[in-house]
Symmetry: C2
Subunit: 129 residues, 2 copies
DNA sequence: TACACCGCTTGACATTTTAAACCGGTGGGC
DNA sequence: GCCCACCGGTTTAAAATGTCAAGCGGTGTA
C-alpha cells in the first residue's frame, strides 16, 4: 500500500509502475530456475530429464511449468522427436529470441566470477561451469 | 533454500552440479525483486519508501528482507542519514560490486526492448520507464 | 522377466510473498 | 493544540508458489 504511487486501483502490483519491457523482462527472468534453464539450453538442446539434471535440482513439476511458460513466451521451442516407432522424446531448444539471452547470461557470468569467488574449501572448481 | 549462498552443507541439490560462481550469481539475482531493486538503485540512492515505490509493488516486509540479504552480500550499502535534528532517514546505495550489475541490467534491458514489445492483455501503459 | 531409463502428472506439503494493519516519530497546515 | 500525511519499518494470517515422492505408460538392455 505504501508502495502505491497514486493508483487506488484493485489490481495493484506491476501496473502502477507503468508497462515497460525491462520491467517485464526482469519479471520473466527472475522466475525461479528460468536463468538456469536458459543457461543449460545455451549449451545445446536437451530432453526433459537431461535438462533437469543440467539445471541441477529443479524438480519435474516446477520444470514442466517453467518450460510451458517459456514456450508461450517463445523463448524456447518444444519439439517431439518422433524416433523409431513409438517412443517420443521431447527436445527443448532455444528460439532465436532465447538465444539472445546469451548476453544476459554472459553478463551474469562475468559478474559472478569477479565478485562471488569466495568458494568453500574442498570444493574444487569443477567445470560444466 | 537450495540456492543459498552460504550453505556450508555439502549435501543436497545444487552440489552435484559442481560449485560455480555463475550458478550462485543466478541464485542471487533470481530472487524476487532483486533485479528491480538493483535497477532502481542504479538510478541513484534511495530511502526505504522511495525505493519501494521505484521498484513498483514490492511490499515492505519482502523489501526489508531483500535489502538485508543484499547488504550481507555487499551489493548494497545502508546508511543512516542523520538529517537536521532527530529524524533519521535510511539511505540505500549500491556498492561498487552492486554497480557492476549495470551490465546485467543493460543486457536485460536490451533484450527486453528487442523482444518484449508486444503489449500484454490488461496492462495499461503509463510512464516511469 | 527384471530393472533402469524416458517424459511427464498428481496430490500432499513446505516455503515465500502478500496485503493490511500497526508502531513510534517528524513536519506542516490550521 | 489537533489532524493528517509521511518516514522506516514490524507483525499477522492467508494466498501464491515451489517442492517432494510416488507413480503412470512406455521402451531398451540384459
Amino acid at each position: 500500500m505504501n508502495t502505491e504511487l497514486s493508483a487506488p486501483g484493485p489490481s495493484a502490483t506491476a501496473v502502477e509502475k507503468g508497462f515497460c519491457p525491462v520491467y517485464r523482462a526482469i519479471g520473466v527472468l527472475q522466475e525461479k530456475w528460468v536463468l538456469h534453464i536458459v543457461r543449460a539450453l545455451l549449451d545445446g538442446e536437451k530432453g526433459f530429464n537431461e535438462l533437469a539434471r543440467a539445471v541441477g535440482g529443479c524438480n519435474s513439476a516446477t520444470l514442466t511449468q517453467r518450460l510451458e511458460h517459456l514456450e508461450t513466451l517463445k523463448i524456447i521451442d518444444k519439439r517431439t522427436e518422433d524416433t523409431h516407432g513409438k517412443l517420443a522424446r521431447s527436445v527443448y531448444t532455444l528460439t532465436p529470441v532465447g538465444r539472445e539471452l546469451q548476453s544476459v547470461i554472459d553478463a551474469i557470468d562475468t559478474w559472478g566470477r569477479a565478485h562471488l569467488q569466495e568458494g568453500h574449501p574442498g570444493v574444487v572448481s569443477a567445470q560444466g561451469c
